[in-house]
């Protein structure tokens, strides 16, 4: 069969390539597909949202409509679970048998928990999975020309989570995967923080609740301490929160071109907290960060930018990003 495979290469021109990119939130999925011809030119692309996380028949049919046309289809998704992290350790990466580790250009590595990986693979078992990406590597790829520059923070903002990294001269200094709370207060917040010594890997929800309580207190305190003027904002925040209590909306990306003021603030506070940890923890070098690059996949309001500029005195650069499109790009890169 070895000989046959070599000859088969010459017949690849008969088919187009299809890249299926699935981006999921806790309740929805977005499927973005690109059809590439044998010369590498994009013939067409199509985009659809589904009100389900799991692979239902409508989604499957939609995908198969295109994947049936060619044997060369590649299904990619990104891991949005909290159980992933990045470290600057490259050696001894097989230490933890519960996670799968990959190296990014020999200077840092990113990890995913085996359970999460298996769960994702299981979720898409009816259509199969070809690529599974990490938001850390996506972030690094998206800002690849900036990362080898001076110390800066890079943040990926998505519906459900924030991915935070701090790089200096292509070296990873700090990273964190943060779950943002949803509008529905029934969901518990999963806020997981991981050190280099990975023993504190906590999946226990109860432990998190205490953290959440602490964090809430901290956030409020930090706001009081740092900026007086923000108390007014806090009131407004509470008003908006109560208002949105009555709505139990599932997030549809098309409806939220501009996210809630509320949400953005939430994001800011979470990020700020992580930054403080970075500064305060003696483990990290903790030079002052002056720049932040935001990869925006949801359409943040200008306020988030304002927060960083005013509260933390950072230069903020926001770049729009289509998550599915970026995943597609990365998938194409994998095939080169």
């Amino acid at each position: 069969m070895g000989v046959k495979l070599n000859i088969a290469k010459y017949f690849e021109f008969l088919y187009n390539k299809v890249f299926v990119n699935i981006v999921s939130t806790r309740t929805t999925s977005t499927v973005y597909m690109e059809m590439i011809n044998s010369k590498g030119v994009v013939i067409s692309s199509v985009d659809k949202h589904f009100k389900t996380l799991e692979l239902d028949s409508k989604m499957k049919d939609f995908i198969e409509q295109y994947t049936q046309e060619t044997p060369f289809y590649y299904i990619s998704t990104i891991d949005s679970s909290p159980l992933q992290w990045a470290t600057s350790e490259v050696k001894n990466v097989n230490k933890d048998k519960n996670s799968l580790v990959r190296c990014y250009e020999n200077s840092w590595s990113y990890n995913i928990a085996n359970n999460s990986m298996e769960e994702i693979i299981e979720r898409y078992k009816d259509i199969g999975l070809d690529f599974l990406f990490s938001p850390f590597s996506l972030l690094a790829y998206f800002f690849k020309e900036k990362i080898d520059g001076d110390l800066a923070m890079y943040v990926l903002v998505t519906e459900d989570y924030l991915t935070l990294t701090i790089f200096e001269n292509s070296k990873l200094l700090y990273s964190k995967q943060i779950e943002t709370e949803s509008n529905n207060k029934d969901y518990e917040l999963h806020h997981l923080e991981l050190d280099l010594s990975t023993d504190e890997d906590e999946e226990d929800g109860f432990a998190d609740i205490e953290d959440i309580v602490d964090i809430d207190e901290e956030t409020e305190e930090s706001i009081d301490l740092d900026d007086f003027g923000d108390i007014e904002d806090l009131d407004a925040l509470e008003d908006i929160e109560e208002f949105s209590d009555d709505k139990v909306e599932e997030k549809v990306k098309s409806d939220e071109k501009i996210s809630d003021f509320d949400t953005d603030y939430r994001r800011f506070t979470l990020l700020q907290e992580s930054i403080n940890n970075y500064y305060q923890d003696s483990k990290y070098k903790s030079d002052f960060i002056e720049t932040i690059y935001i990869a925006d996949s949801v359409g943040v309001s200008g306020d988030l930018k304002k927060y960083f500029e005013e509260e933390l005195f950072l230069d903020v650069y926001v770049r729009q990003l289509d998550l599915a499109y970026e995943i597609c790009d990365m998938a194409k890169m994998e095939l080169k």
């Binding site: 495979l5 008969l14 044997p71 289809y73 690529f131 990406f133 990365m330 994998e334």
Partner: protein
């Protein structure tokens, strides 16, 4: 993989259906090919057998010809020897007849047997004895008879009898016989 945790599945043009189809048809083609080879082989076999047989046939024919000529020759020999044998026997009989022809009272001194004739040299007591006893039968046998006498000391006669058969007359007589019969 540069970014991905997992490696993509193998993608190939050769789906199981394609492979099945190709296998089926390659078996078919193989069978056709073998049939073709077989036919070529048989063709070669045939031409070589044909050549072989042609050579053998040629040999046989040559053999037959040589045997035929041998047979012919033997037949010739047979015919010739038959003829010779009969000739000798006929000669013997005719000599015998000739000597029987001669009566006791006539004594021969010489006999010349010729192709077409007979010459006697002998002695006879009297002419009459000769004429009755010898000349008469001689005359009936031969076409031409010549006799000459001359006396001997003892009162007997020496004679010379020359008798000839003319071959032409025999031939024409044969022709007459043929005409009579037809």
């Amino acid at each position: 993989m540069r970014f991905s945790y997992i490696v993509p599945r193998k993608k190939t043009v050769l789906s199981s259906e394609v492979i099945l189809l190709l296998t089926f048809f390659s078996i078919t083609f193989l069978m056709l090919f073998f049939t073709y080879v077989f036919i070529l082989f048989k063709d070669y076999q045939f031409t070589s057998t044909k050549k072989e047989l042609a050579i053998k046939k040629e040999q046989l024919n040559k053999n037959i010809d040589s045997m035929k000529s041998k047979i012919l020759f033997i037949e010739k020999q047979q015919a010739l020897s038959e003829r010779i044998y009969t000739k000798n026997i006929v000669l013997k009989d005719s000599i015998k007849n000739m000597f029987d022809l001669v009566p006791d009272r006539i004594v021969l001194s010489q006999v010349h047997l010729l192709e077409n004739g007979l010459i006697f040299y002998g002695v006879t007591p009297t002419k009459d004895v000769y004429n009755f006893m010898l000349n008469a039968p001689l005359k009936s046998i031969f076409h031409r008879t010549y006799t000459s006498f001359y006396p001997t000391k003892g009162g007997w006669l020496n004679f010379v009898s020359k008798n000839y058969i003319d071959v032409d007359l025999i031939e024409s007589a044969n022709e007459e016989d043929v005409d009579d019969e037809s």
